[in-house]
Structures are given as C-alpha cells and as structure tokens.
Symmetry: C2
Subunit: 326 residues, 2 copies
Amino acid sequence: MPTLKDVAERAGVTVTTVSRMLNGRVRVSSATQERIRQAMEELGYYPNEMARSLARKNSSFIGLIVPSAQNYFFADLIQHVEAAAEEQGCRLVLCVSNQDRKKEQAYYQMLMSNKVLGVIMASYELNFEELRHSTRLFIAFEESGSVEIPSASTDDFLGGKLAGTHLLDKGCRHLVYLGANAQKNSVSDRRYAGFCAACAERGIAQPLQMDASWDEFIRMQYDATVGEMFRKYPETDGVFASNDILAAGVVQYCRRNRIDVPGRLKIVGYDDTSFASICSMPLTTIHQPVEELAKYAVRCVVNRANGNTIPSSTVFPVHLVERETT
Amino acid sequence: MPTLKDVAERAGVTVTTVSRMLNGRVRVSSATQERIRQAMEELGYYPNEMARSLARKNSSFIGLIVPSAQNYFFADLIQHVEAAAEEQGCRLVLCVSNQDRKKEQAYYQMLMSNKVLGVIMASYELNFEELRHSTRLFIAFEESGSVEIPSASTDDFLGGKLAGTHLLDKGCRHLVYLGANAQKNSVSDRRYAGFCAACAERGIAQPLQMDASWDEFIRMQYDATVGEMFRKYPETDGVFASNDILAAGVVQYCRRNRIDVPGRLKIVGYDDTSFASICSMPLTTIHQPVEELAKYAVRCVVNRANGNTIPSSTVFPVHLVERETT
C-alpha cells in the first residue's frame, strides 16, 4: 500500500508539505496541491480518515438503528437519513436490530465506541431512561419520555383522528383499528386514541381494536390477523390500519374473498410510504413527513455535536391523502 | 468524557493494565477484568474503536454502495448484507449513490480512506477497469468484466428464458419485454436475450422491447412507459417486466383500464422482492437469491481481507415463482 512518503517523492515535495495539505491547517500553493493530488491519484493513495478522526476525537459518522431495512417505512427513513447525512458531510452507519434488545444494545455500544457524532434510534427496545446521560442519542418517531434525550416524532393522535373522521364522513359505522405494535410502544396507542376521539365526537360506538404481531410486522405478511378480524367482526365496514402494508394486506384479503373495496369496506392506511401509491389499488393513508423528520434529526445530531443547544422534543404534523380504498 | 485514567483509578489498577485488557495482547486476571469492566460501565466509558482500528490498519467496516435504499430490491439487499456483516462481526457503512457517478466516486474514495475491509458495489456508474488495482472491491449483481475484480451475479439469461417459456406455455403470442435500465448496464440485455431465446426455440416472433428511464426506476413510478406500451402495442398478451415494481405498474394500469389479468394479459416480474407477494395481486416473478448472494459477498470481502484467495466470478441460479398474474 502506498505511503505518505511515496506521495511526497512522486510529487517532488516533502512529507511535511503533503501532511500540511491533508490537514488543511497551513496554506499550500494551489500548484503544489494539484501536484500532490495527482500523485495520490496515480499511486492509489487514500489519506487515512480514521487517523484524522482520531485527532479530532470525533468521526464524521452518524449511526442509525432501525428494526428492519426491508420494511418499506424504514427503507424510506434510511433513504432520507442517508441523503441528509451526506448533505452534512457525514457518513451513515446502518444498524438493523430486528427488534432484538441485545442487538440494539450491542449496536448502541459499538457506535459509541466508534465515537460517532450521534445515534438516531428508530428501534425502541432499550430503556431510554438508562441512556439519559448520553449526549449523542436522538430518538426518531417516538417520544423519549426524558427531557435529556431529544426526539422528533409525528402527531399520532391527529393521524388517528383524521382517519376516523374520514371513514365516518364516508358513511362507515362499524369501525376496526388494526395495530401492528401496540405492546411495544405507545405510537399505536396514540393513533387508536385519536381514532376513538373522532368516534366520540360524532356519538359513534368506540371502534374495536386488534393487534398484529411483531413477527408479522417484520415479515410484512399479515394474513393471520386480517383473516381473524373478518371472522370475529364480519359486519366491519371501515378499517384503519396502522401501516400501509397492513392496509394492503386487507385489500389483498378482500380481493381474494370478493369483498368490494371501497363499496362494502373502506380502508385507511398509515405512513404514505412509496408503496401506498404503487400497489395495484392505491391506498388512502395518513402521510407522515419522513423526509422532513429525517433531515431534522440529522441536523439536530450535528448541531448538538458542535455544542449547540437543540429542542428536547419536536412534533411534526401529519395529513390524510385520499386515494382509491375509501 | 471519561478517560482511560479515570477507569484505571476507579478500578484500582494501572492505566497499563486497562490498556492491556482492551488490546487483549497480555493476560489480565478475570477478577481484574471484571473490576475494569464494571468501572467502564459506571463511568460510561467506551473504548475507542477508531484508535484500535488504526493500530490494526483496518477497520471492521464494510461499505455497501447502492443506487437507492428505498427501491424494494435494494432494501432487501441492504437487509441481507447488514445481517451477514453483523454475523461476521463487521459493521455496515451504507452509501446511496442515486446513480450519480460523482457521488459513487466520492463514496468509494471515502470508504477507502476509512480503511474499510471491503466495498460491495451494487451501483455501476464507475469504470470498473480503472479500479482493477483495488484489492477491496467486490461487485454484486453484475459482472465486473475484469478478472482482477471479484463479482457475484445471478443468471440473467436463464431468468429471461424461464419468463419467456412460461408465458408461451400459457398461450401468449404477442410478447413485450419492459426493461428498466438497458442503457446503463448489461443485466437487462441478458434478460432480454434469454427471453428471445425462449421464443426462437418455439419459432415465435422475437418479442418487442421497451425501456423505462432511470428516473422512473428511482421513483418506482412507471406510468409513462406502461401507458406508451399499451398505445404502441395494443395487441400485447404477455409482458415480461425486468423488475417487480414495473410488473405491478402494469397490473395497476390494467386495473384502471379494465384489462383482465391474467385473462387478457399475463405478466411476469423479476426479483421476487417481498413486494411481489404483498401487492394486492401477487406477481408471478423470477426469484433472485438476494440473501444467498449478500451472504456470499460479505464472506468474500472478509476472506480476501484476511489474505485468502477468492473466486473471481460466481453466478447464482434463479427460478420462476408462479402466482396470480399468469
């Protein structure tokens, strides 16, 4: 592997000059810079980023921990966090936890050991309270429950209320909420609370609730839960599903069982992932501002690493997008 | 931030002892190790991975460059590469090129500068020939065209042939191939060649070919190309689409325009992404062994970094999965 000395020799300058240019601390004439750059290219020499990070005591890496990279919601999040990191001159270390507490913990420690600028967590198995002394943690799409850990989330209660009001406006009276992850975090509960509030305002009976398993969530196959819902509540005429893939699972079930959508049953999804408009029956859904939240989270991580004060909790609004399932 | 000295003081040992334990070169008694570990935990001290990587001249990072993290095929690839890297005790640095040559180049250099174990490229804007001196590059899902750069791809010709034979067996006689990226790489050309070979074997006229743009590929919205196909070739009764999202775009168009699938038109996709079975009309498609290829690529990168010789070119087979669109 070529060394700094090889580069200096080829460019006809001293090692100190090459090192000065790489550190950017002392001015080197642009003609010399060009000669050095050319020598580096010809030799295939890459300056050692790790050594420079070490000198700065910080790398330019940002860690992102997600439960899945395959799930469409998180695929969108990864895309936007990567773009935002790149815009800030940072690199992304992606960690997939499979919603396993031990993996999440190991990833968190690994990222800290690598002196990352910050860690954006969108996987919630750890007890945030225990991590409150971290100055590099940022929680995305959930509230941290601690003023010491900054977070950005979206207005889940509003999302649930918008879905409920929309289904009621369309004439639905037998409503079911399909959650994907109620046991594990409070996101689903807040959506259900908003859904109930919409019904209460109109004097309609509280919607029923059913939950899919984490395994179904990770595999993106909800047949079991959807089938059970239709067996238990055959009179259902409006379904609010807490993610688009679950909503598409309901559409698929209806197609197979010749249930007319939106005539006999209306469906509202959640997230407005790219998937919602691609699947053969485009979904009415609640749009989450994933791109805006991703950009905001990365900016917060960078600002905080630079010693600035950032908001402890930020909530983004959501809105309803009407397509073909209602 | 706590230092090595703070840990040593709290554990009641010398700095040398702590450093010995972290480097793992000299034996430290397990009782002392336990005391040090406890002190580290209490103080929130994370050993500096970067410094240790530097001593080893290699980090344990593997770079993955993809054109998109959002596109379902690449989302699947990312999921499997991350899992395989973690299994090998490595961390994944994810880079999204948006199919931009300059970004791809910048990411490649950044990864080299960070002394990654290896770079797996699934984005193909660079001239591989120029990178043939790299000992850390691995090409996934494309052939490198150079014996010096190892690659793993899948049998695209076979995939095209399987799709063609299946559509002919189902009685289709007016076939169209919808490619997504023919200009940019040879993958699509090989699939088309296989498709043509199936027709030639049965004495059927060569299928027509149309190509979607890269912009459509990245946005996963193929309305323009699909609409044009139906205008130009209204007699089409069989479509082979070079990815599942494009196939789903054809299904969506047919639903809107009341064209019966599979009665009037049969459709075969490519990739067998998770999407193929989730969309409301599950797709007949060609299964690519993404998980197996991801595992293999990571193992190759690690083996090569350890000084072992690895195959220069490996091809995985594909197979057809019949669902509801044929």
